[in-house]
Amino acid sequence: MRAYARVTAQAVKRGGGTVLTELRGDSPLLLRRTHDEDGIVTVHLVGGAAGPLGGDELRLDVVVGSGAALRLRSVAASIALPGRAAAPSQFTVTARVASGGSLQWLPEPTVAAARCRHNAYASIDVAEEADLLWRDELICGRYAETPGSLTMSTSVAYAGAPLLRQCLRVGPDADGWAGPAVLGAAKATGSLLQVHPGISAGGPIVLGPTAVRTPLRGPATLTTVVADDAHALRAYLGRR
Amino acid sequence: MRPDSPHEHDDVPHGHPHPSADPHAPLPADARALRIGIGGPVGSGKTALVAALCRALGGELRLAVVTNDIYTTEDADFLKRNGVLPPERIRAVETGCCPHTAIRDDISANLDAIEELEAALGPLDLLLVESGGDNLTATFSKGLIDFQIFVVDVAGGDKVPRKGGPGVTTADLLVVNKTDLAPLVGADLSVMERDARARRGELPTVFLSIAADRQATPVADWVRGLVAAAVR
């Protein structure tokens, strides 16, 4: 299945606030505006079907204009499942945040189910003086399940310069992924990237035995966590 | 600072290289701080000797210390309390469980630490490089230090000088420490002196009790002589 969704948030010219000038999607990638949270315009991804399934090609483009603020969530975890075809599933997200704009990407976790072959790509372009909060959470297998192959790739540029480029691979195609150099015995992992102009650089913080928050080269911090389960993971990555 | 120096512009040769230069060929030996390595077995009193030298020389020379020993804040406090050496003048180097690799085969971490100290503190007269506690075979590379002191103690047995090994045999100065313990451990200092002379020929050996001589006077005097000669 192929699906394309797009949301564009722009600042209201007079009186402030944000308006959604575009909001479109295809099943299974549907977008709904929900109640504003903390006064921030909020859009939920509402999965039209279980998935992504092998063979799916999903793409979401997010545009946040200067002075606009947008929060994206999802109603449920996204469970990557094998399809009838051998083809992998793919979910590509691109986001562009203009100067003075603010984007919060706080979806529910992605779950790598047994035998899945899923690639999640995110490419984010943050202009100078823009804000970003970007959360990625990955659960390796449903209950007592060994995950299939999943790649989670995140590439972020700030003011045109590379800020963060990461690509985590789990499952049978990634030798050593469950070993002590990558995830150890942890079933859940995730990160929270916060980009904020003038963020106090500060030093790295060890938040717990398997959680650290580190300053990047740029006005940003990254919280990196491995955890036993989604709940423990969220305890570190919940929106502050 | 260096009353023996005949040069009026004696600060010049101590300048750090170009601030923008990257790590780099070592400076010519006459244009930088004198580097003295202090090696010896575990527990022989290397850190105590470093503290004593800081006590003796800290007021007259610009000095800093690089230590390769497993180094704790207690060690830093020890030097700070006893040696009047502020923590910014001490760098600890991790040796990956290879104390003598770090001073002999791959000296890069020590050279980096020395350069960082010189960059942070400005020109120095004397750098003491303390090795991690090792055995009698440990020696410093000539690429790292100009002179080396090897510290053994009488409690390690009066046969140590006879055993030799590169540390005892070739060090520029052999220090036999803890002479105050000789009667307690049944060590015969005259045997040690005879063996040391046999092993070392003309190279000097001093007997010392840092417990009694808190400035390690004979060692401090030996170092003073080298510093004076280096700036000449």
Binding site: A181 | P23, E94, G96, D105, D112
Partner: protein
Amino acid sequence: MDTTLLLLADGRFPAGGHAHSSGLEAAVAAGRVAGLAEVEAFLRGRLTTAGPVAAAFAAAACQGISPAVLDVELDARTPSPAARLASRRQGRALLRAGRATWPSARYDDVPHHPDGCHQPIALGLTAAAAGLTAEQTALVAAYGVLTGPASAAVRLLGLDPYQVQAMLARLATACDEISSDAVAAAAGGPPSDLPSASAPLADIHAETHATWEVRLFAS
């Protein structure tokens, strides 16, 4: 060039590597690594994460891609400041040895940074100065990712060195593949597309290790 290749790849090449465990010391302290089996799993994870990044960046630097561009790209792939520092310190040590061993104008491009130049970039420049190819450079990089922590494991855990060598021999094919894939990746596209394989525990290990009062290894 075979002898030159071996010289640069040799663990005895004085490039500061002996003091780095690349997270192994922290993994041991956290109870994740205790014996040979866990060391092998650790090395497999390092090979598939740090391996492609180090090998592709070294190959790219060897081929003349701007070290300054590669420097920013590597920082973006290294979210832990402790890991960035460890990479830069090892790069600085390698350049010190490289400059003395194979003098060359190639080192003039080294990006200035107070902590030094990232290790894979330093390796690429040194390899180029030594006349090695991008393929050889990538192999040295991947081999270093593999053998650095293996050597640390022998010292830290007192493992049987013969068993460790047998394990390294088992990983040789994987190391070859990582390095040849990395050469292809380095030749493929812009520096932004170079491999970015990550490992959450690598960052967590690097940062927790940096807080210890007493460390045997620098990383």
